[in-house]
């Protein structure tokens, strides 16, 4: 039988697995709501992971490592923004190029750190509460990344729905020509949204290499950037559905590991694909229910003002 301690540990690892996805997909959601389809998430995430790990290993400071990861993700996102927003290149091609560039850069940066280890980001403890059975480690025993992701989710959800900046950002993604005609700086807003996406992807990368698996390995993002992109689409561009999708994916990917551990004779490849299948199934249902509230209308369309 599962006892409370094991259950708590399993649930805590679900949260940890979900956090990477939540961070990266929140950033992408903001970029897409502004009308830019940034397929460079995977690249920005792994550059964040590499730079964050290298910095943390060299300086011994997780905080510096995290900041460096955010900066690195943002810097790479500026490459994408320069191409896709200011030069109005094809967003899909530019995004793919950014990812490939990011994977290469990260391999280069991380090459001298292969085989090293650092201490993972510590869990933040609340005396008394953290020791509660099950809920203690899940709710009050997580590292700072987890709490940051939740705060970020609230900020993004509130910001998009309730603030003027969010309104303008949505307007730019909905109809960039109209937004331009009303005098909103379309390309500047899109650049900022892409930069926010890059910062979030960098932060997600830092969570991977500094907390979730505190070492460096090439390809350590393992396609999480792509999952984050899919989550944005299937969540119908709604932050709260994104939360549900990220945690569902996290839950199934942890649980299938435990099922593999029981040795039920199900091929492990099939079990490994379960998180993807479950996420797709759940989110297809969600987006079917939310029909008519689809993609931002200008998503993926380059904007070129006439002069």
């Amino acid at each position: 039988m599962l006892d409370a301690a094991i259950l708590g540990a399993v649930l805590a690892s679900v949260v940890a697995a979900a956090t990477t996805l939540l961070l990266a997909s929140l950033g992408e959601l903001v970029a897409e709501r502004a009308g830019t389809l940034n397929l460079g998430v995977e690249g920005m995430m792994i550059v964040g992971a590499a730079v964050g790990y290298a910095t943390a290993y060299s300086t011994g400071s997780l905080l510096l490592g995290t900041l460096a990861a955010i900066l690195a993700g943002t810097a790479l996102s500026l490459v994408f923004a320069g191409l896709a927003v200011w030069l109005a290149t094809n967003q899909v091609a530019s995004g793919l190029a950014t990812t490939i560039l990011g994977l290469g850069l990260a391999g280069l940066i991380g090459s001298s750190f292969v085989g090293t280890r650092i201490d993972a980001a510590p869990a933040l403890r609340v005396p008394g509460l953290t020791d509660l059975p099950v809920v203690g480690p899940v709710l009050f025993g997580q590292d700072a990344f987890v709490y940051a992701s939740i705060l970020l989710l609230i900020a993004v959800a509130y910001g998009l729905a309730r603030t003027r900046a969010g309104l303008v950002l949505r307007a730019v993604g909905e109809n960039h020509a109209a937004a331009h005609a009303l005098g909103h700086p379309v390309r500047r807003i899109r650049t900022l949204a892409v930069m926010f996406g890059g910062a979030c992807a960098g932060l997600a990368g830092a969570h991977l290499s500094l907390a979730y698996t505190p070492f460096w390995a090439a390809d350590m993002t393992a396609g999480r950037g792509w999952i984050a992109l899919a989550l944005v689409v299937f969540s119908a561009w709604r932050p709260l559905w994104l939360l549900a999708g990220a945690y569902l994916f996290g839950a199934v990917s942890i649980l299938q590991l435990h099922v593999q551990g029981f040795g039920l004779g199900i091929p492990s490849q099939l079990l490994s694909s379960l998180p993807y299948l479950a996420t797709i199934a759940a989110l297809v249902v969600i987006s079917a229910l939310k029909r008519g509230q689809g993609a931002p209308a200008s998503l993926g369309v380059p904007f070129v003002p006439d002069r």
Binding site: R170, A171, A179, A181, G183
Partner: protein, 519 residues
């Protein structure tokens, strides 16, 4: 004349364009165009499609920068680097293609056009005030995507008015309105000028301009032609200024015989897709050989769905559409063309023609099913070339180069091309959506005459158009489309503009209104 008199009695111009020039590549869209708007006046900007009206407006509000010339605001030179700067100086624009966000509510749309961080609830209250004052009906909390075209225009106007503009520019405001909606817009415009605001009213509808406007500036081919007092002009003298020549009228061929029914539409019902465009409800229509039937109505009332059901882009129940006695409702476009039907959709670029393909390839797009041009799946170039030349010569399609891309042609020439492409196939039925939209007057007259001639030769013609004058001029019977329903077609001689206007507003001929309901 020197503009030195300060505070003189003569009405000073509020916003003035002086010798503005704008080039797009080889095209001179505006060639030293001048225009001045005074406080308290409604000033008309008249011109055909392509005369340069929109370019001028865009320069006057900062969306485009002039290549030369300058803007004066209250007599002082001013540069609007972007639309926001013109708005803060009190220049509001209601664009022809609305600058609205479908997925957002009316309040959000309005907020996006205003500076500052006003809470939406306070803004909604201000919208209600503005609505009351100017007699505009707008519900603040509805989603713009659900609104009719007339309602969307009112949202645009309210958004401009809340910025308290001194100059309001209305770009082709009545082209999307029913006659009734136009009337209430005119009342609003009169109210605005009586408050001392200036209104620039862009139109090519001469009657409106003569009724509403104090002065009119006429553009033709990107050049300033004249500034006149429209009330002193006749509709035909204004038309001469606009077109540069007498506008030819389509000869009405009264004596022609009706033949067999070529198109039968029976109980055609199409479910809406929920987001966009009305569904069709129980459409019935019969067109005989030799007659032209017109379908009037404001855009977005189901015309697109009807066209797609007729052309086979959206096939349905086989019995619902009968072409030349063959049940064709379940067939696709190529099979319907094989029944010698021709279709010309509304959108020239992207629907009727592929913009980046040469014209000769565009010929192939609708003739691939015909014998002679394609044999055993292989394109035969000399018949194709002959056919292409036949269109170009027979329909007076003018262009530069030997075989340019479709997007290089002007609207009128491309429209003549796509209509010629269908007509040369010698169809028994031809369905045309917006045959002369955005086409200059000469080309429009040519297109109408061509269709008239086809009918005289025994073709059945269905014309879907928002231009009521056009339909009254050259069709035999007119039906009206409103909210997906079609009124029975009535002979043109037996109907009137008023009756059609009422039906366009959804009144369906039950004209009696105003009496209290006896339930």
């Amino acid at each position: 004349m020197a503009a030195s008199a300060e505070g003189a009695a003569a009405p000073a111009s509020l916003l003035e364009a002086v010798e503005l020039t704008k080039r797009f590549g080889a095209l001179v869209a505006n060639d030293h165009v001048s225009l001045s708007i005074r406080a308290g006046e409604t000033h008309a900007l008249l011109g055909e499609n392509g005369a340069g009206k929109s370019t001028l407006v865009k320069m006057m509000c900062g969306l485009l920068q002039p290549d030369s010339g300058e803007l004066l605001y209250e007599g002082a030179p001013i540069v609007f680097p972007d639309p926001a700067s013109s708005r803060t100086r009190g220049v509001g624009v209601v664009f022809q293609h609305f600058a609205l966000f479908d997925a957002m509510t009316v309040v959000e749309n309005v907020a996006l056009g205003l500076p500052g961080h006003e809470p939406l609830s306070a803004l909604a209250a201000r919208i209600d005030d503005c609505v009351q004052r100017y007699g505009l009906t707008v519900e603040p909390w509805r989603r713009v995507g659900e609104l009719s075209v007339g309602e969307r225009q009112r949202v645009e106007i309210v958004r401009c008015l809340l910025g308290n503009p001194r100059v309001l520019i209305l770009d082709e405001p009545t082209s999307v309105l029913t006659p009734d909606e136009s009337e209430s817009l005119f009342r609003t415009v009169d109210l605005l000028t009586s408050e001392g605001r200036a209104v620039l009213f862009i139109s090519h509808k001469l009657d409106e301009v003569r009724r509403l406007c104090h002065r009119a500036t006429v553009l033709r081919g990107g050049k300033f032609i004249a500034e006149v007092d429209p009330k002193q002009e006749t509709a035909s003298s204004l038309a001469r200024l606009m077109v540069g020549a007498e506008v030819p009228r389509t000869p009405r061929l009264v004596t022609h015989e009706m033949g067999e029914p070529r198109l039968l539409v029976r109980n055609l019902t199409v479910a809406g897709d929920g987001s966009r465009g009305s569904a069709l409800h129980d459409i019935n229509l019969e067109i005989r050989a030799g007659e032209i039937v017109g379908i009037a109505g404001v855009a977005g009332n189901g015309q697109t769905a009807l066209f797609e059901a007729l052309s086979g882009e959206a096939p349905g129940d086989p019995e619902s559409v009968v072409i030349d006695t063959v049940p064709a409702g379940g067939l696709g476009p190529t099979e319907r063309r094989a029944l010698r039907a021709g279709f010309v959709p509304e959108e020239r670029l992207g629907h009727a023609a592929a913009p980046d393909m040469p014209l000769s390839d565009n010929v192939l797009l609708t003739t691939h099913g015909d014998g002679g041009i394609v044999s055993h799946g292989v394109v035969r170039h000399s018949p194709l070339k002959r056919y292409f030349q036949g269109i170009v010569k027979g329909f007076d399609v003018r262009f530069g180069g030997k075989d340019p891309k479709a997007r290089r042609l002007s609207g009128g020439n491309l429209q003549k091309f796509v209509i010629g492409r269908e007509v040369l196939r010698d169809p028994v039925l031809i369905v045309v959506d917006q045959p002369t939209w955005g086409v200059d007057a000469a080309a429009a007259a040519f297109i109408r005459t061509t269709l008239r001639e086809r009918a005289a030769k025994g073709c059945a013609v269905l014309v879907i158009s928002q231009d009521l004058d056009e339909l009254l001029e050259f069709t035999d019977r007119i039906a009206v489309m409103s909210e997906g329903r079609l009124t029975p077609p009535v002979p043109v001689a037996e109907t009137s503009r008023e009756a059609i206007g009422l039906a366009m507003g959804g009144m369906h001929g039950h004209g009696a209104e105003g009496g209290s309901h006896a339930a």
